[in-house]
Subunit: 83 residues, 2 copies
């Protein structure tokens, strides 16, 4: 079965989010006074053909380790559709 | 109260996802045979101080319209923590 796996990647706490700061400043300049903070990350969806949702998650975790996530500065969370 | 709002931005169907294709090819080259497709998008978290979760959502929607989302080629989904 083909599973859709969503991977949410963000910078770890304590790592300066320059892109987030830039967006924050732009939005504040546009009058978004309710805004307190912004964090910019990546949203990667992968479709994998595996025997179970659990295997789909493991496969996605391997992709994160191999390529998608820089574990020195980033952290990630995975959601498998139908799990 | 300060609400954390997660915004998931992806390319609309039919728009060529060059970044996704590049990641797909790299992962396939690394032996990820279960992989069928990849889509790369943005994961933006904003913290907003509003009176209700509903207001937080509306505020985030305005930010998407004003700056975060290019509605010609992108689509988005919003999740408000505690809603």
């Amino acid at each position: 079965m083909t599973y859709r796996v969503s991977i949410f990647i963000e910078l770890q706490e304590g790592v300066l989010d320059i892109q987030g700061k830039a967006v924050e400043r732009s939005l504040a300049g546009m009058g978004h006074d309710a805004l307190r903070s912004v964090k910019v990350g990546k949203y990667i969806q992968v479709w994998v053909e595996t025997g179970s949702a659990e295997d789909a998650r493991k496969e996605a975790e391997r992709m994160c380790d191999d390529l998608l996530v820089n574990s020195v500065i980033e952290q990630f969370r995975i959601e498998v559709e139908g799990e």
